[in-house]
């Protein structure tokens, strides 16, 4: 047994804290974590306090007697700030984004009650790659979660994507000397195409099949959607 915010829950050996929490119906915010992939631990939205120390729930093994804090003022504030960091480091203009309403970054921000970006915006110059006939790549919206990198490598067996650069210069690259997506072996049916939590990888000509206002997170809070999906109730990817 361990406790999250004072509520006891059981876990199975080998489970991470995130997995134990999800199984018990406790939502811990996350963007880089996906139940079908090895824990990544980079977005840090699932930061919790375990026996007084900060830790990422997605990578920390669940252990007997852990006293976990999640919904404290301090941790809520920390998660809002981290989400705001993701917003200001890229160019996230929701009103012009095809993914608005289906975007996990946006929905997570809603769940956290984020009203503003707080920090100054970096407004970086990022690349848009429309070279592929069926797939659009807009790096303005990339949050470096590496889900496409992992999906392409581990599920599609292709390694179409990678992260190059360092620090704030980190950016998504594709497996082609030209740097253009059209010159890679990606196909629209690839898992990597559908796993993007934001609007960085989009399938062309499908953007407005469902109108704004009628999309997943327009009516369902991400807490409920992800708990259901992560507990095995079906994928909530694109």
């Amino acid at each position: 047994m361990l406790t999250i915010d004072g509520v006891a829950l059981s876990f199975e050996a080998g489970q991470t804290l995130m997995e134990a929490a999800t199984a018990a119906g406790v939502y811990l915010p996350h963007l880089c974590h996906h139940p079908e992939f090895k824990p990544h631990g980079s977005c840090k939205l699932c930061t919790v306090k375990v026996n007084g120390r900060f830790a990422s729930a997605c990578t920390l093994p669940a252990a007997e007697g852990q006293e976990v804090l999640s919904e404290t003022l301090e941790l809520r504030q920390l998660r809002v700030r981290i989400t705001q960091m993701l917003f200001v480091e890229g160019n996230h203009f929701c009103p012009s984004c095809e993914q608005s309403g289906d975007c996990k970054l946006q929905a997570t921000a809603y769940a956290l009650g984020m009203l503003d970006s707080h920090f100054p915006h970096f407004f970086p110059a990022r690349r848009v790659d429309a070279s592929h006939p069926d797939i659009l790549l807009d790096l303005d919206r990339c949050i470096l979660c590496e889900l496409c990198v992992r999906a392409s490598r581990d599920m599609d067996g292709k390694s179409v994507f990678g992260i190059a650069g360092r620090g704030m210069e980190s950016h998504l690259v594709v497996d082609a000397e030209s740097g253009a997506l059209v010159d890679t072996v990606i196909e629209v049916s690839d898992r990597a195409v559908k796993i993007c939590p934001v609007g960085a990888i989009l399938i062309k000509r499908t953007a407005y099949e469902k109108p704004i206002g009628q999309r997943l997170y327009d009516h369902h809070p991400i807490q409920a959607v992800l708990l259901q999906a992560d507990q095995g109730g079906g994928s909530c990817d694109q």
Partner: protein, 597 residues
């Protein structure tokens, strides 16, 4: 030619970084076509190759100059006027800092601390080390470069690196006879070696202070479910010579004058844990030591101190390879270092599992600091009691300090653990300093009221960097320099460090330039806590230390720069109209904005 380079490094995927370093030397960049070619022959995704090229500071997609000059940008170099020298060189050569001149003759960059703080301002030129730069040398250098005079013909004195050992202690004073420690180790089994190291109380010299014997034992025992010392399990010994913490250079000195001891320590470790293969991860800035170190390894092989049946002991087999880094501070973090050894960008891994059970290629691996191996070798030769004769109960033995900054005698000081900072200040001729950065930017900044604090894991834990700052120095500028350093070196893996260090940099720039308000200090403090609490590894967790520690000790230095206004923009408002003014030719009152209004 590419195939030659690949073959020279063994053709394994793990050699990628080594191959790319050679490619960079040859082509002055890594061309896109070369990346594609290497992807094919190394059977690697091209994305990984691009990731590596763009991660390390010393690799580049665009061409550097035939003379590639990199000025060490450590705060101590800056105190000695390095920025001004870099600017002057750029002016004389007609090249912009950070760029390559149109004729490809020269490029000039700033680079993180090159490990020569005691003899700066320092720079690297095509990987060779320049020390004690001054205005005259810059003028001559510019001429040499313009005339394309080969580095071999530059004055030898410019490249001279001195050890500057100012105070010898246990480790440095006593000569270690070649092979002495291996002779003893050869007679002991794993348990015997580890228990001797254990008895000595030796703790990691990189700064974290993990007990060396415990690390070795965990590695020997291996992952859960395996038998201790199971010979079918491959284990590795890695020496961390990625001495990147600004202001430290003691590993450079050890590698120059005690290379045998370093390798001997690694070999003892190999004997203890049952490793056949070891790596010395040498930071790219110390490339100039590579040939000498390779010769030392060769000499050891020919004397039977490395290779098969070391000193004739059946089954005592061990070999050491040297891997170069390529300009990335984060690779000093042990799991990032392992990633780098595997030919990848230096992103710290998730832990658990720890490198002792899942390290290089997922195998049990010991990573120890250069100084730790030197100490281990001597403990093996002279016994634990010899080591226990100095230091404190919790911090046994001595510590090598790299002293630089505002003092008369910078250099290496080996002192017993437990020595107060004041003693070191006296020794190095630091007269009434304002403060000392102990353990580098990720360590602790102490003011003179704290000079009686002692060096040791129980108080001031340190990897050895000690940067001394006189009363004349601006503590805000120092903290600002360190904050820039962390933002530059953040690997980019986790959000709070990647974005947070850049936000901290913006805030301290604003405050240091006199545009900060009391609100900005509050903001900085809150942001610092988030970067510290949520970051993935030690870099992010300590990145705000310089700001917070100097703010705590010298609040008035920050307060005096603050505006009394409620709010001020973090960017130059009037400057934001400059392009418009130029394009319209306007200069009327409405063509300007005040910063506060």
């Amino acid at each position: 030619m590419l195939c030659e380079i690949v073959d020279h490094h063994g053709g394994e995927a793990t050699s990628l970084l080594q191959v790319l370093i050679d490619v960079q030397m040859r082509f002055r960049c890594v061309p896109a076509g070369v990346m594609t070619f290497l992807a094919e022959i190394l059977h690697l995704p091209r994305t990984q190759i691009q990731a590596v090229v763009e991660f390390y500071s010393f690799l580049s997609v665009t061409s550097t100059g035939r003379f590639d000059v990199r000025f060490s940008d450590s705060v101590t170099d800056q105190l000695l006027g390095s920025r001004d020298l870099a600017t002057r060189l750029c002016q004389r050569l007609g090249v912009k800092l950070g760029e390559t001149r149109a004729d490809d003759a020269v490029s000039v960059h700033l680079t993180s601390c090159t490990g020569l703080s005691d003899q700066g301002p320092a720079a690297l030129v095509n990987g060779q080390v320049l020390t004690r730069l001054d205005g005259d040398r810059i003028v001559q250098m510019a001429d040499f470069i313009d005339q394309e005079i080969d580095l071999d013909a530059w004055p030898k004195a410019w490249f001279r690196v001195e050890d500057q050992v100012q105070l010898e202690g246990l480790l440095l004073a006593e000569e270690l006879p070649l092979g002495a420690c291996l002779e003893r180790a050869g007679t002991l089994d794993a348990v015997g070696i580890i228990s001797e190291i254990d008895r000595s109380g030796l703790r990691g010299r990189g700064g974290a202070g993990f007990k060396t014997a415990v690390k070795w034992r965990f590695c020997y025992e291996g992952a859960e479910g395996t038998l201790p010392g199971d010979p079918s399990i491959t284990r590795y010994v890695v020496c961390n010579a990625d001495e990147g913490e600004p202001g430290t250079f003691k590993d450079r000195v050890l590698l120059s004058r005690n290379a045998h001891d370093v390798f001997e320590g690694m070999t003892v470790c190999a004997r203890a844990i049952g490793a056949l293969r070891g790596f010395l991860y040498l930071r790219g800035e110390y490339r100039y030591l590579l040939d000498t170190l390779l010769k030392v390894l060769e000499a050891r092989r020919s004397r039977g101190l490395l290779g098969r049946n070391i000193l004739g002991v059946e089954g005592f087999d061990f070999n050491i390879e040297i891997h170069l880094g390529a300009g990335a501070y984060i690779c000093g973090e042990e799991s990032a270092l392992i990633e780098s050894l595997e030919g990848k960008p230096g992103h710290p891994r998730n832990r658990p599992p720890y490198p002792v059970t899942h390290g290089y290629l997922g195998q049990p691996t010991v990573v120890n600091n250069v100084e730790t191996f030197v100490a281990a070798a001597r403990i093996m030769a002279f016994g634990a009691d010899w080591f226990l004769s100095e230091g404190t109960a919790q911090s046994t033995g001595t510590k090598m300090l790299s002293v630089s900054g505002d003092c008369e005698r910078p250099g290496i000081y080996e002192v017993p653990f437990g020595t107060p900072v004041s003693v070191v200040m006296h020794r190095c001729g630091a007269d009434d300093p304002m403060g000392v950065q102990v353990g580098g930017p990720s360590g602790t900044f102490i003011g003179k009221a704290e000079f009686e604090r002692i060096l040791g894991f129980e108080d001031l834990s340190t990897g050895g960097s000690m940067m001394v700052f006189s009363q004349a120095r601006d503590v805000v500028a120092i903290a600002r320099g360190f904050t820039h350093f962390f933002a530059h070196e953040s690997c980019g893996f986790c959000t709070p460090c990647r974005v947070g260090t850049s936000l901290l940099r913006q805030l301290i720039d604003k405050i240091a330039e006199g545009h900060g308000t009391p609100h900005d200090l509050v903001e900085m403090t809150q942001l610092a806590a988030i970067v510290k609490n949520a970051s993935h590894c030690g870099l992010g967790q300590t990145a705000a230390n310089p700001l917070m520690q100097t703010l705590e000790r010298f609040p008035e230095r920050y307060q005096e720069r603050l505006k009394t206004t409620l709010f001020e923009p973090g960017f130059d408002l009037d400057g934001a109209l400059e392009v418009s003014r130029q394009m319209t030719g306007r200069a009327d009152a409405n063509a300007h904005l005040t910063q506060v209004g």
